[in-house]
Amino acid sequence: MTLNRRTILKAGAAAAALPLLGSRAFAQGEPLKVGFIYVGTINDNGYNYAHNQGRIYLQEQLGDAVETTYVENVPEGPDCERVLRELAQQGNKLIFATSFGFGDSVIKVAQQFPDVKFEHATGYMKADNVGLYNARFYEGRAVCGTIAGHLSKTGKLAYIGSFPIPEVVMGINALALSARKVNPNATVKPVYISTWNDPAKEADAARALIDQGVDVIAQHTDGPAALQVAQERGIVGGFGQGADMSAFAPETQLTSIIDHWGPHYLASAKAVIDGTWVAGDTWEGLKEDVVQIGPYGPKVTEEVKAAAEAVRLGQIDGSFHIFTGPIKDNTGAERVAAGVVMTDAELLSMDWYVEGVEQPA
């Protein structure tokens, strides 16, 4: 508690100076300790890797003003609760819990440490000192879908996902909607493999899809396995997820959706240092640079690149929203009227598929 009061006093003094000096003034005192917990290893080349890159970004940007710590491979359950308390007790004043399954634990621990700020990624339970943050990955999917619609020869796209949660359903739908704007006959085949990290199973799912005529694969799991199969089989392409995966599929990665959590982590840490942090519910995307589109692959022609860029820039300036009606579901019923944009709440509970998505079993 005393530490916290001192922090706020210092931050208040610094706020009178230039914003740039704010962090430096703080650095002369004690650095803000920021903790991160990851559900997997930082070496997964995907989701957890991207969060850790965000942590490194924060550390680089604020230098001595912050001191970051992370714990990897934290199981979702009571073990997570213990790790969170460990971090809080070691003086971390801002803690990021980066996986949905940490939610219960975050809420419990946050009650025990009211002076510690928590932020929970992709969750839905808030509290006075628990904020939520998420990224509009679907905006990236809309760019991917545009490219897929142009380049796919068979018009058969696939999406390898873990579980049918709204996050994944949204991505499938954004891919289908954007691809069908280019090629109205395009279809998307979702395959759920019931795991976040089993590279061999992801790879076999990709093989099964390619063998049945799919020539563009998007995946929503933690690693590059499916993309590598796309490269090996020489199909039209696939997309990196979470991070640029071109090292794994130099010819076949058409582009990648990069989770760029750094700016969000920076903003939150600064807010805590300045004493302006409030439990927010942020859902940022391309505009805020939290979702980035990676470099385009060699197969993406100038013309397709221009179309993709138009979708990307349209989402940045707000002129384009992929979930704008009319949208029919895959039974043919109209779900969103012409001109209407789906609300965030509707998106975050999406459990139906748009036209062109084959109903998964």
């Binding site: 979702e76 213990r82 399954g101 219960d104 019931s194 975050l348």
Partner: protein
């Protein structure tokens, strides 16, 4: 070789107590050296993993909560292993116990009353017993190896969780995530020390260990288990049925694993999630051995294992030791302990000297 092994007439009591301590000490020394050699702070790793959880009073609640399921399952397994019944499917029985408790919690959702929690516990114990009854039945009726069947059933049980929480038991408000709803207040295990996370399962674990110790050392049942294990032929002459022993061993170990499962889901988890199988059932096998198959030894072994888990996380946050290092430390404790087992049953003797003087 100037030494040779000689079987002791009786297992050495001294070695029985000494070897687990020596295994931990040896792990600390060897671990510090190895991790220093590969570029980590080896001394720091040992300090944070093995000592900090003990010296930091704030960590004691974590040790209690982490050790409780290990102790409960470990006690059951130590009884079974004493009788030479190799139930290695405790993880599966733990899972089914947790699922049975969850079923009661979901079925009584919206109701209240002090009967719900005991009913859940009962369901958990029965669930664990029933799941253990399958290998018991196959072993006694068809002479099928229980190691293999109980192991296979464990993997099947994990899939059962995934199925139930993805489809019929999915939380209607859970945004489509595969998990059940949060249990109602009446279905949650109360904490016994306000302001901590120490729940009712912790004293239950100690009680289970004490009762088991008493039964194993003082009752006919315990005698039967021990005799069947050490001298099956003598047991048969003594009128102890081997099948009866197998059934008892499987039901006791399965029931206790189920108890641990239901306490865990009603206590720390408070809902069924995909992360529920946390390898407690497998870790408890190690705990049973580390505790020398003695219920009181299991209490200490459970705490030692809990220390390495809790300390492993401390080491990650304080000195940046990777998560993988915890596994290596745990494996080292076991390797040294299992290797040291030999000294309980055998002693080293100098070949040249006479048996009376050469004890090492």
């Amino acid at each position: 070789m100037p030494f040779r092994l000689e079987k002791r007439p009786e297992p050495s009591r001294l070695m029985q107590y000494l070897t687990p301590a020596a295994a931990v000490a040896l792990t600390m020394v060897v671990g510090a050296i190895i991790f220093s050699l590969i570029g980590y702070d080896g001394m720091g790793a040992v300090r944070e993993i093995f000592l900090t959880p003990l010296t930091n009073a704030y960590k004691w609640q974590d040790l209690g909560v982490k050790a409780a399921p290990l102790i409960i399952i470990g006690v059951g397994l130590s009884i079974a292993y004493r009788a030479n019944v190799w139930n290695i499917g405790a993880e599966g029985q733990y899972v089914v116990g947790g699922l049975a408790g969850t079923w009661v919690a979901l079925a009584t959702y919206g109701m209240s009353g002090p009967w719900i929690l005991p009913l859940m516990v009962l369901a958990g114990v029965v669930g664990g017993m029933l799941y253990a009854a399958i290998p018991a039945l196959l072993r006694t009726r068809l002479n099928v190896n229980e190691i293999l069947t109980s192991l296979m059933l464990t993997y099947a049980s994990v899939q059962l969780i995934y199925y139930l929480i993805r489809a019929p038991w999915k939380d209607p408000m859970g945004m489509g995530f595969p998990q059940t709803r949060m249990f109602a207040e009446a279905a949650r295990l109360p904490t016994i020390i306000p302001g901590t996370i120490v729940h009712l399962g912790v004293p239950i674990a100690l009680l289970v260990a004490l009762v088991a110790w008493f039964i194993m050392s003082r009752s006919v049942f315990g005698y039967q288990m021990r005799v069947v294990g050490t001298a099956p032929h003598a047991a048969r002459y003594g009128g102890f049925s081997e099948n009866r022993t197998i059934w008892l061993a499987m039901l006791v170990s399965g029931g206790l694993a189920g108890l641990a499962g239901v306490l865990e889901v009603a206590g720390p988890f408070q809902r069924m999630v995909p992360g529920f199988p946390t390898n407690y059932g497998f870790t408890a096998i190690i705990v049973a051995f580390l505790g020398r198959l003695n219920p009181l030894g299991v209490v200490f072994a459970g705490i030692v294992m809990a220390i390495t888990f809790v300390g492993g996380e401390v080491a990650q946050t304080t000195i940046g030791l990777p998560n993988a290092a915890t596994g290596i430390f745990q494996a080292m404790v076991l390797f040294f302990l299992l290797g040291g087992d030999l000294l309980v049953r055998y002693r080293l003797r100098r070949v040249a000297s006479t048996p009376a003087t050469g004890a090492a």
